[in-house]
């Protein structure tokens, strides 16, 4: 069953047609990669899923609900989490607090003046946050200030923050950008591991073909604002249209 249905989405910025009649359907539990050359509209499309942008035309349905016209926090509350291209974390807070905040947001909703209980007495939420940190391998650093982490750890922390919310859909915007090969492989393993364990649907925007082909169940290729192909990795690899648009002609 498709958890995310994108139908006829178009978006125009001034003279630039950023998205042109994009159709996309993401199956529940799948890892769906969106690839395409720079300027193909990948980030614009992602922004349409999280409430940052509203498309000019078209519909985006998630789990039977429209994602258009509602605020980012509301979209998150119905189960969509996002990992940014440059890690967006709470740099002044500890790692544990970084994970606690999304956990509380999941439990308490968009707004609650929950001023009486102490954070350290909220056993359930705390244990949950600690287990997520453990799972992601950052438990030992839980009392460090997040801003002092390495870039790779920051990215992993951000994933932990998203995972702590048990999202139905996880959006990853170039999760391995700027990482070393070793870190990239670790991230791939991580995504596989947690993804499989929880059955989270993921949409991955990625340049690194190695990552895409290791992770994706399905790939959509975006070029000039249009989906030119959507298929399994094996078939996409061999698709000449993709090679032309994306790789600039047949490879090897």
């Amino acid at each position: 069953m498709a958890i995310l249905q994108v139908r006829g989405v178009s978006k125009r910025f001034g003279g630039l047609q950023a998205l042109n009649d994009v159709n996309l359907s993401v199956e529940e539990g799948h890892v769906h990669a969106i690839i395409g050359p720079n300027g193909a509209g990948k980030s614009t499309l992602l922004n349409c899923f999280v409430g940052k942008l509203d498309p000019d035309t078209g519909t985006v349905m998630f789990d039977g609900k429209s994602l258009l016209g509602i605020k980012p926090y509301e979209i998150n509350q119905i189960g969509v989490s996002r990992v940014f291209q440059t890690p967006e974390i709470f740099a002044d807070l500890t790692l544990l607090e970084n994970v606690l905040i999304p956990s509380f947001a999941k439990r308490d909703g968009g707004f609650k003046v929950n001023w009486w209980p102490r954070v350290d007495r909220e056993r359930v939420v705390r244990d949950h946050a600690e287990s997520v940190l453990e799972e992601i391998g950052l438990y030992d650093k839980r009392d460090e200030v997040a801003g002092s982490l390495s870039r790779g750890d920051k990215r992993r922390l951000e994933m932990a923050m998203c995972l702590s919310q048990d999202p139905k859909l996880l959006l990853l915007d170039e999760p391995t950008a700027g990482m070393s090969r070793a870190d990239t492989n670790a991230t791939i393993d991580l995504l596989k591991r947690v993804g499989e364990a929880r059955g989270i649907t993921k949409i991955v925007i990625e340049h690194d073909m190695h990552v895409v082909f290791s992770l994706a169940d399905k790939i959509s290729v975006l070029a000039q604002g249009t989906v030119i192909a959507e298929n399994t990795p094996e078939l996409i690899k061999g698709d000449p249209r993709v090679q032309e648009a994306y790789l600039g002609g047949p490879q090897e």
Binding site: K112, V113, N114, W115, W116
Partner: protein, 453 residues
């Protein structure tokens, strides 16, 4: 915020408050005896000294005026303690002052900064009362502060001898039994100015008022408008200007074409300096309207502040409580001892503060006590002379001094840097006296004296 826990918390506050109340209430029953107050009045001096509180602006726009007030106070303390040349103690009569302090106790003093803010002034006065044990508070250079401190002293139970305060309200609707004002007020300014203006400018004038938009400004505007209208002047318009406006151009230009031939500036301090300077810049002093020379009037002058307006004060009428160039015996004595001490002449603020201190000390001697109720009795309807404004009455009904008022004019050819104003008329006290229930002063209650014990 509609969270339920929040409400519970707030209810908790109320409960807690009640509990604390019970806790606090308990000790009162037995504390009365334990901490019994053996003073018959607040801050009764026990040793061989008595402490006075000098509360003057040390920061802010009136800091220079405050500094001058403080100089006068120190001089008064010196004279009271029998040091120096005695100043006005030699001319003040009837006086019981002996130069051995007050009631044989050496006079000491504490100082504080009013910042020309009611809150700060009250905090400072409270410090003097609660910490330093002052029996009398004096000073200040604005009516807001004077009224605020006066009511504080009433509640606390000490005497307040007002410094520079010119609003009708200080001894009008905000008068207090424990407070006394030597300085004159808006009504008196108007009553003194009117005849002089009539002589100089005739009875056919159209006056335009620019008024500082707060109580002092309003009372002065009301007073001046009333007495000028009585002699036939027409009030064209009364415009309120915000305190500390700085640039008054937007209020001055409408004067140009209003048909008015007289501008009354109900401003004091910095506002006065700026509005006067700017009015002159707009050519008002050189203007001709209705065949008459345009004139500007500054009803309340202060020499210290007038310095800031420089040349612009020349020929402009106003009134003042006192001026150092007065030739009576008392003024001469004061100017002499102040001048020798500090090297320049005292301002009217300094004069008032000095005189107030002497008057207070003398009242204590008369009453034989520092107890406010005794002092008040002695000061009420006390008649005296030799303090620079001729025969003066401290009226019992409203605690206002009635004395001669000076009408002054900016001097055309000053002979020195202090020679800015010339006295054109000494209006006798009788002419500026009003009945205590005059409409501009009605509505207040003096209340009864408070000893604070």
């Amino acid at each position: 915020m509609s969270d339920s826990k929040f409400t519970v918390g707030r209810r908790g506050v109320i409960k807690g408050g009640a509990a604390l109340g019970a806790g606090l209430a308990a000790p009162t029953f037995f504390s009365r005896g334990a901490f019994a107050d053996d003073h018959s009045y607040l801050n009764e001096p026990k040793g061989d000294t008595v402490t006075l509180g000098f509360n003057v602006p040390q920061t802010g726009a009136y800091a220079d005026e405050g500094a001058d007030e403080l100089r006068a106070y120190k001089l008064a303390v010196k004279h009271l303690n029998g040091e120096g040349d005695g100043g006005m103690m030699n001319t003040f009569k009837p006086s019981m002052l002996k130069g051995n302090g007050i009631l044989g106790k050496k006079v000491e003093y504490v100082t504080g900064d009013t910042q020309t803010k009611s809150d700060a002034a009250r905090a400072s006065a409270k410090r003097m009362i609660e910490k330093d044990g002052a029996v009398m508070i004096t000073g200040g250079s604005s009516s807001g502060v004077a009224i605020a401190v006066q009511s504080l002293c009433q509640e606390a139970g000490v005497i307040f001898m007002a410094g520079l305060t010119h609003s009708n309200d200080t001894t009008g609707k905000d008068k207090r039994a424990n407070g006394f004002r030597h300085f004159f007020n808006g009504y008196m300014s108007a009553a003194a100015l009117a005849p002089v203006l009539k002589n100089s400018y005739g009875t056919d004038r159209n006056a335009y008022h620019l008024t500082a938009d707060y109580t002092w400004g309003w009372t002065q505007e009301e007073s001046i408008a009333a007495s000028t209208e009585e002699m036939g002047w027409n009030t064209v318009k009364k415009v309120r200007t915000p305190l500390g406006a700085g640039d008054f151009s937007q209020y001055i230009t409408p004067v140009l074409e209003s048909g008015a031939d007289t501008l009354v500036l109900n401003h004091y301090g910095k506002d006065m300096v700026n509005s006067l300077t700017q009015a002159v810049q707009f050519g008002l002093r050189d203007k001709q309207v209705n065949g008459k020379d345009f004139t500007i009037i500054v009803p309340l002058y202060s020499r210290l502040m007038a310095q800031g307006a420089g040349e612009n004060v020349k020929g402009i009428f106003g009134s003042t409580n006192w001026h150092w160039s007065l030739s009576d015996e008392g003024s001469q004595a004061f100017v002499k001892s102040f001048g020798q001490e500090y090297g320049f002449p005292p301002s009217q603020a300094a004069h008032t503060c000095y005189v107030q201190t002497l008057l207070y000390a003398n009242a204590c001697e008369m009453a034989g006590t520092f107890a406010p109720c005794g002092v008040i009795d002695a000061l009420e309807d006390f008649e005296f002379d030799g303090l620079g404004n001729g025969k003066t009455l401290y009226r019992g009904a409203d605690h206002q001094c009635f004395k001669d008022v000076l009408v002054v004019k900016g001097k055309e050819n000053p002979s020195s840097q202090f020679d800015i104003l010339e006295v054109v008329e000494v209006t006798p006290a009788a002419q500026v006296t009003y009945s205590p229930d005059h409409s501009m002063f009605a509505g207040g209650e003096l209340g009864s004296c408070n000893n604070g014990a």
